[in-house]
Symmetry: C2
Subunit: 336 residues, 2 copies
């Protein structure tokens, strides 16, 4: 607690068109002081997800209506620095809605305890919202069956790289859609994906077809737009499309129309297209985390973490993430 | 069996743009002769559905790839005129894939027996594909719950007018979307719909919102296009969109893109959008027909039949149907 002031990253302006680093501002504020039943938390690591871009669009999304002049939102793993609550002691690790700042105060009831594992930052990655999103989106919404072909877009992203691995653990053939060959090769070589397709290639649609000779049974969509459109045309009868995110549409002020084939192809192929938010599965988080930790300990699930050092680099890390610069979960490491 | 030749309606040309009467041709052919195990059927009444327009588009749909110079497809109630099979006798009523012709020959195994009810033409309407589509689409895919708001498009059509009534029988509030106030009023006054909205009105979106003060829980989509787009924006969280047909896109050579909000709104509102084909429920047809006959006998379900007299008027009846000229199921009455 050597700090005497709190470093914060504020949303300066709602982005017009693509997000820019100058839409944010790094400032310093007085250290917050916990009241009765409250806890002062020191931020260790913040997770950044593309979905947060939606919260900065002109209309309200599931991330709520946007505002400027406030601390940018975000979830972090933090260490308790001062506690006015019986339930937490100094040094405890917690998950909290810190936002992009070095210190934050929370009601003890708003905190989730994090076990003292090797790297607690996993709680904003594979054991946090991203991992849980991959787990419930694939298993509860996509319902893969052994022998299915599962395709995931933004496959090297925070959610995608886990979706593919969890799908393989369920006996499916897994094809990842990425925006770079280098990322795609890593998915195949390091994570065991069966194939990858680069959506920036001119021959993307043909390559997707070739990579899925038996069609697609489950498509886990993180992107929307043209990639969704391409996958839709390769779906098998009774296929499931998991609508998880719309990264192709976040970084803009005017979302594109939906893909051709909606709803015609849904009828002809009896497809189910279903959106979900991970928060609806909160009652099952503990079980999912235990399952994923088991896979990790057995060496069957690898979590990629893509770190940015220091709060002041968070805006650049976010802009770069939206351009596809990350591999795995982007984490801002604030302090050790 | 006074006929000595068979009247047929052929597909002369695949329509370019909107379907025209001149895309068909009425001709005469030799009377067909049944072989071993086959049955000669005299067509009584043929059902016409907007979905058949899809079968005339340039690419294959669930109705199969299109061809010219052949008898236009369609299902009919027919009377057995000659039988070389033990299982059917002269005078029996059957459902058969006659196509648009006065006489047709079928393997006995391809026929479905129709009971000798008051008007067997119901078997190409409320007790045929249309009614079964309404029944299974609404109940098995839409899963309405008492208190839900159910909206159906093409609400005065062959499927729509039944969807609304079946939905009301399940304790829901029902709003029909039609293309004319006259049809809409009939839905409310004669069939008990709670409200209707005319999608041709400039204030359509506002009217839909006003007619659904508690939002939409189940949207039964027969149209796609802008109407789907409007309904999508009024859906409640965890709502279900039943994709049944795409009548707005059938009568064209170049289908429009999908609605804005796919997939973004599906995610934010956790919507399920699901296509289906009634044929997948064939194993449950008998039970559904029995249920619907029960409702009809109790005066709780009214089947609207909209008749065209004579095969030679079938093309005009089809063109008019695609323009929204029908109320209820369009049936071509071929002979009594």
């Amino acid at each position: 607690m050597a700090d005497t002031e709190n470093t914060q990253v504020l949303v300066r302006a709602l982005p017009e068109g693509q997000l820019r680093v100058t839409d944010f501002e790094v400032t310093h504020a007085a250290m917050p002081v916990p009241g009765d039943g409250e806890v002062l938390c020191q931020t260790l690591a913040i997770g950044i997800g593309a979905g947060q871009r939606a919260g900065l669009q002109g209309s309200a999304s599931y991330a709520g209506a946007p505002t400027t002049g406030i601390v940018m939102g975000g979830q972090a793993v933090a260490r308790v620095a001062r506690s006015n609550a019986d339930t937490f002691a100094v040094g405890d690790l917690v998950l909290c809605a810190s936002g992009w700042q070095a210190w934050s105060v929370h009601k003890a009831t708003a905190l989730t305890r994090v076990p003292d594992i090797d790297d607690p930052a996993a709680y904003v990655g594979v054991l946090g919202t991203n991992g849980l999103t991959a787990y419930f989106g694939l298993l509860a919404v996509g319902e893969p069956r052994a022998g299915d072909t599962v395709v995931v877009s933004a496959a090297a992203g925070s959610v995608g790289h886990l979706v593919g691995q969890i799908a393989r653990l369920h006996g499916t053939r897994v094809v990842g859609i990425t925006g770079s060959d280098a990322k795609g090769r890593r998915l195949v070589e390091e994570l065991g994906f069966d194939a990858f397709v680069n959506h920036r290639d001119a021959g993307f649609r043909a390559a997707l077809k070739a990579a899925c000779p038996a069609g697609i049974d489950v498509y886990f969509d993180n992107t929307g737009g043209d990639i969704l459109g391409a996958a839709l045309f390769r779906m098998n009868e009774f296929g499931r499309i998991v609508c998880c995110g719309v990264v192709s549409q976040y970084d803009t002020s005017s979302p594109a129309p939906g893909p051709k084939g909606v709803p015609g192809l849904l009828v002809n192929k009896r497809l189910r297209m279903q959106g979900f938010l991970v928060f609806d599965y909160a009652g099952r988080y503990a079980q999912a985390r235990a399952t994923m930790r088991g896979w990790m300990q057995a060496g069957r699930l690898t979590a990629w973490q893509d770190e940015v050092m220091g709060l002041e680099n968070a805006p650049a890390g976010f802009v770069d993430l939206l351009a596809g610069g990350n591999v795995g979960t982007r984490v801002v490491r604030v302090t050790r």
